[in-house]
């Protein structure tokens, strides 16, 4: 198999639209992928869409740190060439003013960060053994800035940066580099917002230097390949915005607020 990630094993946690795009791009670069998702059927759909049995699917509650540790530990044991862990774990935002966000909202959001930490712990021996392991988080622009009505989600997204940088600081000596991608992706959700508030979304797009949302496979998956490939060897602890320049370009609109 040719490609920038030929003959590597990868674990991908989170099989939403962005996860599906990443899986497709990793497969094109020759990686074998284990797709893990809360919804086993969704993981199977993603794995099944890839050519040549490049991927397998596993169901796991990614808001359960212990279950996530066990699953990743089991899977890692069977992957001789595990070199890449992709953590696309942020859940669905709970939209409400901060004064109405009860502990359960924070618990739900942060449990997925805790599960990600356990996935990293379970995978690190194999990543070290690969001689140049990579961990790539998918974060969110609200975990770099913030937005209103999303306190628990903002907090969880920011927590991923703390986790990214902690791993970078401690596991660099194991030749593992850990980075976080802030994606801005063309998804069904964004399309739905556009249908409801076309002028608002168009205003948002006009401010983005590259004038579009990213293709999940070419743009977001591409950025994962960049960090997982040869170019990512000495990039460690970075927040990389695969967002068409959205992070430099002005206000972060929250289409979800205008339902």
């Amino acid at each position: 198999m040719n490609g920038l990630l030929a003959n590597q094993d990868a674990l991908l946690l989170g099989a939403d639209a962005v996860g599906a795009g990443i899986a497709a791009r990793l497969a094109r670069e020759g990686a074998r992928i284990m797709v893990i998702d809360d919804d086993r059927e969704r993981a199977e759909q993603v794995a099944g869409s890839l050519p040549d049995a490049a991927a397998m699917a596993v169901g796991c509650d990614l808001s359960d740190p212990q279950a996530t540790w066990r699953t990743v530990d089991d899977l890692a044991a069977g992957l001789p060439a595990l070199a890449l862990l992709v953590l696309n774990v942020l859940g669905t935002p709970y939209v409400a003013p901060l004064e109405s966000q009860e502990d359960i909202a924070f618990g739900k959001s942060l449990s997925r960060v805790r599960a990600a930490a356990q996935a990293m712990r379970a995978a690190v021996p194999k990543l070290e053994a690969s001689g140049g392991g990579r961990i790539v988080f998918l974060g969110h622009r609200y975990g770099r800035t913030v937005n209103e009505g999303l306190a628990a989600y903002n907090t969880a997204a920011w927590a991923l940066i703390g986790l990214t940088r902690s791993a970078a600081a401690e596991w660099g000596r194991l030749k593992i580099s850990t980075n976080l991608i802030v994606p801005f992706a063309q998804t069904a959700e964004l399309e739905a917002y556009r249908a409801r508030r076309p002028r608002l979304i168009d205003t948002l797009m006009e401010q983005i230097p590259l004038r579009r949302a990213g293709d999940v496979e070419e743009d977001i998956g591409g950025a994962v390949v960049f960090l997982a490939g040869a170019g990512g060897a000495f990039i460690n602890g970075e927040i990389v915005c695969a967002d068409g320049g959205q992070h430099i370009a002005g206000p972060v609109l929250n289409p979800g607020k205008f339902r």
Binding site: A168, G172, P209, E218, A223, G231, G237, A242, D243, I248
Partner: protein, 267 residues
């Protein structure tokens, strides 16, 4: 490695150090490379290395701290190679360390800004219309962790490097609609200027390597060169306006103030 077949790259300040490493990596990935510097002799050495890898390459002598020469450099690249896809604004004169109350800071700022900020602007201005015609392009500028942390006695260099980050974001916003991405790399890699900084005290080099989360210095070609190639490859086509540290994570833990200017600084 990424595939840059058919792409034309111009690397300024490419006759040594990081620029040389970046040029070599671009060539290894199939790009045609114009290297630039002020010394024919140094240029000839790197040119031979590029051609030994089978790359189409030319050395173009120019002092990019002069506006006319900087613009002409880009135009000559297009004349020779027929296009320009990738512009790597690596050139930077590094003025000697100087306490900021001393006479001479003004001159140092002038030198550093001309070869850094202005040169990056002038080559970019010359290349952008051509890139627009071609449907897009990639510009990579260079900043420094020393600028971010304000390493002492480096006012001219530090201020120049931080100004380049602002220029990068501005050009990214203006030229994104033309398909041009503009990013800035903050490297920590071994180069002659980096090594000169350690010359007075070899322990300093080891100390900085140990501070790095990856417990080593960056390599010009395999680390900095590979990261730059990644940024100008298809994989990174949706990344623009980004400040990208390529330093093994050195910046995460802060930068010790290791600069000294002799007896005075120890008082």
């Amino acid at each position: 490695m990424s595939n840059l077949q058919g792409r034309v790259a111009l690397v300024t300040g490419a006759t040594q150090g990081l620029g040389e490493g970046i040029a070599l990596r671009l060539a290894s990935c199939g790009a045609q490379v114009a290297i630039n510097g002020r010394s024919e002799q140094k240029g000839a050495r790197v040119l031979a290395a590029l051609r030994a890898r089978g790359a189409r390459a030319e050395f173009l002598r120019a002092d990019v701290s002069e506006r006319a020469q900087a613009r002409q450099l880009v135009h000559r690249t297009v004349e020779i190679f027929g296009r320009i896809d990738i512009l790597i604004n690596n050139a930077q004169t590094v003025p000697p360390l100087l306490e900021s109350l001393e006479d001479g800071v003004d001159e140092h700022i002038g030198t550093a800004m001309a070869s850094g900020l202005y040169a990056s602007l002038w080559t970019s201005q010359a290349a952008a219309p051509r890139m627009r015609e071609q449907g897009g392009g990639r510009i990579v500028n260079f900043a420094s962790i020393n600028g971010v942390f304000g390493s002492k006695y480096g006012a001219a260099y530090n201020a120049t490097k931080e100004s380049i980050r602002a220029l990068t974001r501005t050009l990214a916003n203006e030229w994104g609609p033309w398909g041009i991405t503009v990013n800035v790399v903050l490297p920590a890699g071994l180069s002659p200027s980096y090594e000169a900084f350690y010359k007075d005290d070899p322990n300093k080099a080891d100390a900085v390597a140990k501070l790095n989360p990856m417990r080593r210095h960056g390599r010009a070609e395999e680390d900095i060169g590979a990261a730059v190639v990644g940024l100008v490859s298809d994989e990174a086509r949706f990344i623009t306006g980004q400040s990208l540290y390529v330093d093994g994570g050195l910046h995460l833990l802060g930068l010790p103030q290791l600069h000294s200017i002799g007896v005075r600084s120890r008082s």
